[in-house]
Amino acid sequence: MSKKAKVEFKFYTRLALFELTGRTASNLQEFLDEIEHADEAIIFYHTHQFLLEHNFLVPEPPNDFAEWVINALHERALGERLASIDTYQFENLKLLKDKIVKIIKDHMDERYGEAREKIKRKVPEKLLNFATKIFFSRPQKERTLFGNVKPEEEFHFVRSTSFIFPTTYVATNLTEFRYALSQVSLNSIYYHLFESRLRFPGTEENHFSSWFEKSMNMPDIAAEIKRLTPYTRTLEELRQRIIKIVDNQLSKEANNA
């Protein structure tokens, strides 16, 4: 019989409904403006929700922003930079959004700079400065050196609403935890491992690690789970990985008994 937890672990699950915001972007400037004004539920949809929905695909697509920049805008370098963001390293969605905005702004500065250099070779400096002044005096939406995509290729901003509700699974010790983990849905695993941390500022650890550390006094297992990300593994593989970690602990306990 494995050790009893100080506090039981209640498994919750999460499902989501998606809201069409009516906000769209048809060029890079609009894309940046919209992301800057987007709330966290919009950022969540296009980064985490998108990965959650496509986690099973091989190869797994990058986040939704990168996908659009590559396939609709054909801005490959920017797309690669956005795709390489390690979404899971960010403690909250505000920090993730700031990172996305910075990458796009840096890219645009680079591109405006390049365009300016090209024009400079053909146009006198004074005229160029005048043109630049006019350019920046226009409303931001019209101020683009980047072409518009076709209407059917516009980017549509979507907001994710998460619904969290309890499952019937509860664990009071390691054996029960293992069983429950093998039974719950991947949505449940995703919620406890990733979304809970992101959506509640100040929550430093995922629910599993927190439980292992505080209720089971097993800091090593807590640390091992904390290192997991859904980037290199599917959620099902993550489930199996945690089960293996728990199995190792159960074997140790059996050997020590």
Partner: protein, 409 residues
């Protein structure tokens, strides 16, 4: 149509999906849902409600379905509205609005509203909404129509009604419009147990192909869709002809009969003309109930094409993906939700692009198979009836939390 039970879907979607549906439905105990539309036969809305309503009741959410009434003149007007919302050139006049308003009032006077949640489908019954002020209840308007480029006069007329609902629902991002109320995205779905999608024995597929004069041992490219310029059937034939220069293959273009549709007749005549010099091109006009035939044609194909220039959600794409087929499709309407380029299929923008995608898939069967596997899994998770049920349950729950983005139940 046999009535299905939730457990019939267990082996297809997995126990977690069914368990979560039951948990969600438990949160709606005591609520009644009243669906309202204009017809119980024909069309996608009726088809989905026939399947959805019994499953909702099985889940313990008391659900019923009522129809509005209307004369021939009303349905003539709503058909014109439907075409106008699709962006088709349609003549609309003030008399038509009068007819619409007259029947809307008649239905407001006659139809009994008893649901806690009143779920109104498409424009025909949209004019019931003024009842809300008098009787309360929660009202949802579900738009099944592609409203990406609507006739603005008709849309603005309907928008006055839409804005009075509590929530609206659209099938894909391009169809959303500027509204005062929240718009929820709920794509349509296919039923994996329907005749059109159910698993078929290999022999049945082979026999069907042979019956239609198709050689099952040779490569087959198929497009299933009505004969309409927007489905670009001529472009499909051109793409096929490019592919044929390099490799042996056959083409099937199958769609419903075009006898009632003058434009359809014209397109069909042109398609037949373009195909006349090649006996490997099979043009088929199928009767409306040819579900098993369509199923077999899709399953017997090496590549399924949907080279649309404009598209609604594109359920024929969903059907092909569900059968594990590599799909080449135009990046329009709801198709990009389903086909991620080079991951769950290939998106194309031209005849030449379609031809090279088909050639690539026919020459690289491993890649084609991988796309097919990904596509099937994508549909399993996102475009089956059970996902549709889940979204509706969440939608009903959301009515008490409008505007929140993190809801604890």
């Amino acid at each position: 149509m046999p009535e299905r039970k939730l457990d019939d879907y267990l082996t297809i979607v997995g126990k977690h999906v069914i368990e979560e549906l039951r948990l969600l439905a438990g949160k709606l105990k005591g609520k009644t849902v009243q669906h309202i539309n204009s017809t119980s036969v024909g069309g996608g809305v009726a088809e989905i409600l026939h399947r959805m309503v019994p499953l909702m009741n099985e889940l313990g959410v008391e659900t019923s379905w009522d129809l509005i009434r209307g004369g021939e003149d009303f349905f003539w007007v709503t058909k014109a509205f439907h075409n106008a919302l699709h962006g088709k050139q349609t003549e609309i006049n003030s008399k038509m609005y009068e007819i619409f308003l007259k029947y809307s009032k008649m239905n407001r006077d006659e139809l009994k509203i008893y649901g806690d949640i009143v779920f109104v489908h498409d424009p025909q019954p949209i004019g019931l909404i003024p009842l809300k002020e008098r009787i309360g209840k929660k009202w949802i308007w579900r738009c099944h129509v592609d409203t990406a480029t609507p006739n603005m006069e008709v849309w603005n007329f309907l928008k006055v009604f839409v804005d009075q609902y509590d929530l609206s629902v659209f099938s894909a991002p391009p169809f959303s419009r500027e509204l005062k109320i929240k718009q929820i995205m709920i794509p349509p779905s296919i039923d994996p147990l329907s005749e059109k999608n159910i698993d078929l024995e290999h022999e049945v597929v082979q026999k069907t192909l042979k019956d239609y004069g198709i050689d099952p041992s040779r490569k087959l490219i198929t497009q299933i869709s009505r004969f309409d310029y927007l489905k670009d059937p001529i472009g499909v034939i051109e793409a096929y002809k490019i592919v044929k220069r390099y490799m042996d293959c056959q083409l099937v273009l199958a769609g419903g009969s075009a006898t009632d549709d003058p434009e359809g007749k014209e397109v069909l005549a042109k398609v037949k003309d373009a195909a006349s010099s090649d006996k490997d091109i099979h043009i088929m006009e199928l009767p409306p109930a040819s579900h098993l035939e369509v199923n077999a044609l899709q399953r017997g194909s090496s590549v399924v094409l949907q080279k649309s220039l404009k598209e609604g959600f594109g359920l024929t794409v969903t059907e092909a993906l569900w059968k594990g087929k590599p799909v080449v499709a135009g990046a329009v309407g709801g198709i990009p939700l389903q086909v991620m380029h080079n991951i769950t299929g290939m998106l194309v923008h031209s005849v030449e692009g379609a031809a090279s995608a088909i050639r690539y898939l026919l020459s690289n069967p491993d890649f084609a198979e991988k796309l097919g596997q990904n596509g099937k899994e994508h549909v399993r998770r996102n475009f089956l009836l059970t996902r549709h049920l889940k979204d509706y349950l969440l939608l009903f729950l959301y009515l008490d939390h409008i505007g929140e983005t993190f809801i604890r139940l």
